[in-house]
Structure formats: structure tokens, C-alpha cells
């Protein structure tokens, strides 16, 4: 196990050092390896109960954070703790954010969408107007018409995981706009 970790560390460091000189291929390999590691780490942090779309979303956010903050790694330190530190920060940050507004997500999910335009407290058209045409189509197909992710992804020519992440982001956006 330790030997395997040391091998991963060594490989990642080599790829990272090549990336520092602008080697895009090495960086792509680096990020691919990081994505797998982050996924494993997030599952360890959250347990298996983490919904798939949330995991996908979080994983993307961590990889994006690693990309944005790649200059904060110092070469004299091991790389894996740095990756896990960012992953953990993102996970905790996301957890805290959700903890602040958990009820609204449930309410939005279960009541407003099921009741559609019957809700008097929300101007449904106003909320939908906040979305881009593609987001609106995705949202209406999945959350209003109840179409499956696979079918929607096929119809809209996107991957299933992209559709899931997209819906998750839309829910997040709408959640922030709902009056409390």
C-alpha cells in the first residue's frame, strides 16, 4: 500500500514538474490521475451515501480548484497531501454551504416542482427566466416532465454525467433565488 502511494506520488510529481513548463499532455495525464484520486478521497470523506450527481459536481470543483491553485504547491513538499488538503477544503466548504440552506433544497425539490405553477409564493416564469435556454430545456425535461437523465442526455447531445451536473447546478442557482 505504502509502496503504491509512493509510486503514485512520484509519478504525479514528475507530471506536475513537466506541467510547470507548459506541457499540456503531461498536465492532462496529471489531472486525469488527480480526478481518480479525488473521487476516491471524496467517497472516503463522505461515505457511499453521497448522491452521484453531487459527487460528480464536487469532483469537478476540486479538479478546477487544483487547476486554479496549482501555483500554491511548494515543490519541497509531498504532492498527495496538497491534493487531499484541497479536496477536503472543497468538501467541507460544500457541506457548510448546504447545511446553511438544506430545507429550501428539499422544499424546491418536492413541492414547487411537483406543484408546478400552482405555487403562489414563487413566480415560476421569473425563476425560469434566470436560466439559459439550454439550462431551461434540461431543467424542464428532467424536473418538470420527469424524463430520464439518459434520454435527456441523448436528446440534447450531452453526456449523462454532464446532464446530472447541469441539473445540480440549476437547482443550486434556483435555490439561491428563492425568497426565504
Amino acid at each position: 500500500m505504502l509502496k503504491k502511494t509512493a509510486e503514485i506520488e512520484q509519478k504525479l510529481r514528475a507530471l506536475f514538474q513537466l506541467s510547470m513548463n507548459g506541457d499540456g499532455v503531461a498536465y492532462e495525464s496529471f489531472l486525469s490521475m488527480v480526478t481518480a484520486l479525488v473521487r476516491k478521497n471524496l467517497l472516503q470523506l463522505a461515505g457511499k451515501q453521497l448522491p452521484h450527481e453531487v459527487l460528480e459536481e464536487l469532483q469537478q470543483e476540486v479538479v478546477l480548484s487544483i487547476h486554479q491553485k496549482k501555483h500554491t504547491y511548494s515543490l519541497d513538499r509531498p504532492l498527495l497531501p496538497w491534493i487531499y488538503a484541497i479536496s477536503r477544503y472543497r468538501y467541507i466548504d460544500d457541506y457548510r454551504q448546504k447545511k446553511r440552506l438544506p430545507v429550501i433544497v428539499e422544499w424546491l425539490d418536492d413541492q414547487v416542482i411537483e406543484n408546478g405553477n400552482q405555487s403562489e409564493s414563487l413566480d415560476w416564469d421569473e425563476l425560469l427566466a434566470l436560466l439559459t435556454p439550454q439550462q431551461r430545456e434540461l431543467f424542464v425535461r428532467i424536473k418538470v416532465e420527469g424524463q430520464s437523465y439518459a434520454q435527456t442526455a441523448e436528446d440534447m447531445a450531452v453526456s449523462v454525467s454532464a446532464a446530472k451536473v447541469g441539473v445540480h447546478r440549476i437547482m443550486k442557482l434556483l435555490k439561491d433565488k428563492v425568497p426565504r
Partner: protein, 211 residues
């Protein structure tokens, strides 16, 4: 996978973070030097300065203030980067600050306290606090901007260390300038801005240092 491809295509050559020694040399020492120079410019009784520097307690307190400023700056540096968590600088900073407080309380003249308090309520005496606050606010803002380039795991703690580093650098400045040596004066007008900054810094940092 398309995200990874897109990110890889955006890649440009980059450098990693500065080492601690470079960070201190570039971002702490010039500020401290500027504060010390400014303090000598502001001193209005330069002839007594030599006598003051010969006093052991004055020297000890200056050393302690500088220790707090430097150690909290190092703690700030460590807290601004994901894998650099180290506790020792923070412990040194808090220890030195605690020692300074103990020294001040030890010298407090409790019999004269009401009279001293009355004197200290004068607005002119509170000038120290205003100068320390003004200096530390400017430096705190600079530290906050540097921390934004990093990736603080705990923005509140980073904000706290930035507040202590900035305020104590301001206190180092006032240590030489201020001729009011009363313990109550130091506790009120030198420690108060530090305490307020230590309260406000983490709150603001939690808002501004999220990434």
C-alpha cells in the same frame, strides 16, 4: 473528461509559490523597516531615545513585539497554503503575546488605577490606538490580497494571523514613538486595536478569503 481536456489546453508555464524566506524578505521585512523608520521620524523627543534604548524592559518589550509580529506573519504564511500547516509559529506568537500581557499586568499599579483611567480617557491619549489601527488596516489589506493568491484552508485563521501580524507591526511602530509608559495606557491604546483587529479580521477574512 472534457473538463480535464479543456483545463489542459488552457495550461501556460507557471511557477509555484515563494518559499518562506523569500515571502518574509519581500512582504514583511520592508513593511517592518518602513514602520520603524516612520517611528523614528515621528518621535518628537529624540534626545531621550538613547536613554530609553538603555532600559532593559523597553528592549525586552520591543523584542517581544517583533517576535509576535514575525511569528504571526510566519503563521499567516503557513495558513495561506494548503499543505503547509505548522503549529509552532502560532504557538510562539501567542506565547510572546501572552508574555507581553503578563508583563503589563505585572507592572500595573492597582492603587492608581481610577486616576490613571481618568487620564487615559483623554482623546489625545487615544491617538496611539488610532495610529496603530490605521497602520494595521493598511497592512492587513495587503496581507489579505496576498492570501487571496494562495489557498487558505481555514480563511478565519488566516485572517486572524493577518490581523495579529498587522496590528503588532503597528504596535512595534508605536512602541518607539509613544512616550506614555503607563501600563494602563499600553493595555488600553496599544492592546485594544490589536484585540479589535483580532475579532474583526477573521470575520472579514471568512467573507473575502473564500476560494
Amino acid at each position: 473528461m472534457s473538463t480535464v481536456k479543456n483545463l489542459a489546453s488552457e495550461l501556460r508555464p507557471f511557477k509555484t509559490t515563494e518559499s518562506l524566506s523569500v515571502f518574509v524578505a519581500k512582504r514583511f521585512l520592508p513593511v517592518l523597516a518602513a514602520f520603524v523608520v516612520l517611528s523614528f521620524v515621528m518621535v518628537n523627543q529624540k534626545e531621550i531615545l538613547g536613554i530609553r534604548w538603555a532600559q532593559g524592559m523597553f528592549l525586552l518589550k520591543n523584542v517581544l513585539w517583533i517576535t509576535v509580529a514575525l511569528a504571526s506573519f510566519v503563521a499567516f504564511y503557513y495558513s495561506s497554503f494548503p499543505q503547509k500547516a505548522r503549529r509552532i509559529p502560532g504557538i510562539i506568537a501567542v506565547g510572546a503575546l501572552g508574555l507581553l500581557l503578563v508583563l503589563e499586568f505585572f507592572q500595573l499599579n492597582y492603587a492608581q488605577l481610577p486616576a490613571e483611567l481618568h487620564t487615559e480617557m483623554d482623546l489625545f491619549r487615544g491617538g496611539c490606538g488610532v495610529i496603530i489601527s490605521a497602520m494595521s488596516m493598511g497592512y492587513w489589506w495587503m496581507l489579505k490580497n496576498w492570501a487571496q493568491q494562495g489557498a487558505p484552508r481555514s480563511p478565519g485563521m488566516t485572517g486572524l494571523w493577518a490581523s495579529i501580524a498587522a496590528s503588532t507591526a503597528g504596535c512595534v511602530l508605536m512602541q518607539a514613538v509613544c512616550w506614555q509608559e503607563g501600563t494602563l495606557h499600553i493595555l488600553l491604546w496599544h492592546f485594544l486595536p490589536l484585540s479589535l483587529a483580532s475579532y474583526a479580521g477573521p470575520l472579514l477574512a471568512k467573507k473575502w478569503l473564500r476560494w
